[in-house]
């Protein structure tokens, strides 16, 4: 791994190269057409080839030049935020806006430093109430406040 002097060049190059190759494999099935009458495959292939070129240049560059610091990614905040958004998307229609907001806020509260469950819960309830007021009552957007899970039927 000591050959990689510029990890940010190396990894971004790999990403560009990966997307480029993947796009070529996909777009190879689309009719290419000619320069005069371009098919739907022409432009994507053109862009993908250029993307591969950029990717390879970056990977090549990563072996030379000034060494830079290693790239550090903090996985925890990233994963927690994504988990919160997924929970929101999954529950929004079934459980409704109120519950989805509470879930999102309670989950992402764990992303930074120390987790304070009580403070998070208070913030969650306040935000849920505020958002219902702003988006549903004031702006009149079509959002279920409480979803079908709360459609109790006693008859």
């Amino acid at each position: 791994m000591n050959r990689i002097r510029r990890p940010s060049d190396f990894f971004s190059g790999l990403i560009f190269l990966g997307v480029g190759v993947f796009a070529i494999v996909q777009a190879i099935d689309y009719p290419l057409g000619t320069l005069r009458t371009m098919g739907p495959g022409y432009f994507p292939i053109l862009v993908a080839v250029l993307l591969c070129g950029i990717g390879m240049t970056l990977v090549g560059k990563s072996a030379a030049g000034e060494a830079e610091n290693p790239v550090t990614v903090s996985l925890w905040p990233l994963l927690v935020v994504l988990a919160g958004l997924l929970a929101f998307a999954l529950t929004l229609l079934k459980a409704g806006l109120f519950v989805a907001i509470v879930l999102l806020v309670m989950i992402v509260g764990g992303a930074s430093g120390k987790y304070r469950p009580l403070a998070s819960a208070v913030l969650a309830l306040a935000l849920a109430a505020a958002c219902v007021a702003i988006f549903v009552l004031a702006l009149g957007q079509q959002l279920p406040v409480f979803g079908e899970w709360f459609d109790f039927r006693f008859w």
Partner: protein, 499 residues
């Protein structure tokens, strides 16, 4: 007299009670969010975009423009009163503005910023009103080949003035073009890169991408930075600049306005670049350079005027040519497209009320900010103190609701989350997200114009060189790339962007 008639038409649209109200709301909310440390204008607009969905187009654009300069104003308030490391948008104002605040002259710095911005905004508004009809006439004579070259020029030029590696920025543009390909091809009806998923047939929603890149990814990056508590500088005693202050700020404001107006029109230009350039210029022309960095009023007046002028004139290429020059204009362009208005030369002729109303509202908005903000500074400073761990959940909630309410599809929330992930990882690899957005927005147009140009020329590539406009634009694009590639210029460019 045409201009006068147009401005009257615009003022008529801008000062209807509901448009005035939304202009005010935009300025107010923009400042409110913009004041929060770590949230720049781009993120502020991304966050507040959903609020405008239910409004009619003219009102929505007026509000969005208000949000834009409101957020800039909020950013400079934070820069002057609160010191936070690593905030790109108003880093220049912070250098001397915060020093002034520490010397108890924070109020004067804020007043200088407000006055400079107002003056620059007024001049830039007139400039837009005068130059837009001319540019529109030019744009209407463009053929497909010219448009293609213009877009190539806009994309490449935006890369050369941006921060960071040029190769990576070109990679990001291409990545954006690739994302723009997703969906049903307009000419042939072929489904490209849809993987059989119905949700992808209409392509990827650009607003979801914007919220992912500038809302979610930015938030993750801010959480990770282990935010330090901001340092608030002294109390505000007097807002009124002295006679000496007025004399010291007049020159920088004039120079900043000129420089900013010019840089705002360039692709990739806009507010940020303008303030950097103005600071460098002021430092060069100043008789007493030692004062810079120790509370020189010129270091606030120049960049603040330049930044507002640049913000305003960056509307010109978007409104007249349909080519957004930076991420913020790309967002406003998407907001227009969402309502069925294609940004470009036809807007002025087909939607004169929208066009001139927007321009007039810029001036109205700037006047409002001047009146609104100075008395409210106490409130803004208190807002800037709210700890981030209370703010970021609210930001994420806003993003999630906003992106859903746009088309009532939970799929867009997943798209936003995915682009949040991509944006974060790419930012970590020193790849700025703005070129991706420009590429995604211009991708379909680039392809259509390429197809049309080559169909008209019967497949002859020479058409791009034979047409004078196209040839000039391509030549300038190649030249600017070559210039950046030269080692000497590259070093200069890094210096200029750093200091």
């Amino acid at each position: 007299m045409d201009i006068l008639a147009n401005i009257t038409l615009g003022l008529g649209a801008a000062i209807t009670p509901s448009n005035l109200l939304y202009c005010f709301l935009g300025c107010f909310l923009g400042t409110l969010i913009g004041v929060i440390p770590g949230i720049g204008p781009t993120a502020t607009i991304a966050l507040l975009l959903p609020i405008t969905f239910t409004l009619e187009p003219t009102t929505a654009l007026i509000m969005l423009a208000g949000i834009y300069y409101g957020s800039q104003y909020g950013g400079s308030t934070t820069a002057i009163m609160v010191r936070l490391p690593g905030q790109a948008e108003s880093v220049i104002t912070a250098i001397d503005g915060h020093e002034m605040a520490k010397q108890g002259r924070g109020g004067v710095a804020l007043a200088t910023a407000a006055l400079g911005s107002f003056f620059a905004g007024t001049v830039a508004t007139i400039l837009i009103a005068v130059s837009s009809p001319l540019l529109t006439r030019v744009a209407l004579s463009f053929g497909p080949a010219d448009y293609f070259s213009l877009m190539v020029f806009a994309l490449l030029a935006s890369v050369t003035v941006a921060q960071g590696s040029v190769i990576k920025a070109i990679g990001m543009i291409l990545l954006g073009l690739m994302v723009g390909n997703i969906g049903t091809d307009v000419t042939s009806g072929t489904h490209r890169f849809t993987f059989g998923a119905l949700a992808l047939y209409d392509g990827i929603n650009i607003i979801a991408v914007i919220m992912g890149l500038f809302g979610v990814a930015e938030t993750i990056r801010n959480i990770e930075r282990h935010r330090v508590m901001p340092v608030i500088a002294g109390k505000i005693t007097s807002l009124m600049p002295t006679a000496q202050d007025f004399r010291n700020m007049a020159g920088p404001i004039l120079r900043g306005t000129g420089l900013g107006s010019l840089l705002g029109i360039l692709p990739g230009g806009g507010a940020l670049l303008a303030s950097f350039a103005s600071y460098a210029l002021e430092k060069r022309v100043a008789r007493d350079r030692a004062r810079f960095g120790h509370g020189a009023i010129a270091g606030v007046a120049g960049p603040e005027s330049a930044n507002n002028a640049g913000a305003q004139t960056s509307f010109i290429p978007m409104l007249t040519l349909g080519i957004p020059s930076n991420a913020i204009m790309a967002m406003l362009a998407s907001a227009m497209i969402m309502r069925g208005i294609t940004p470009g030369p036809r807007v002025m002729t087909d939607q004169p009320v929208l066009f001139w109303g927007l321009i007039a509202s810029m001036w109205v908005g700037n006047a409002m900010l001047l009146i609104l903000n100075l008395p409210l500074i106490g409130l803004w400073v208190r807002l800037a103190r709210i700890p981030y761990h209370l703010l970021y959940p609210a930001i994420l909630v806003f993003c999630a609701i906003g992106v859903y309410s746009m088309s009532s599809s939970t799929f867009d929330i997943y798209v936003m989350a995915a682009f949040g992930l991509c944006g974060y990882v790419l930012m970590k690899l020193d790849c700025e997200p703005a070129p991706l957005l420009l590429g995604m927005l211009l991708g379909p147009l680039l392809e259509q114009n390429l197809q049309r140009a080559l169909m008209l020329s019967r497949g002859d590539l020479m058409t791009f060189i034979e047409r004078p406009i196209s040839a000039t634009l391509l030549a300038v694009s190649v030249l600017s790339l070559l210039l950046v590639a030269l080692p000497h210029v590259r070093r200069k460019r890094e210096e200029a962007l750093q200091d």
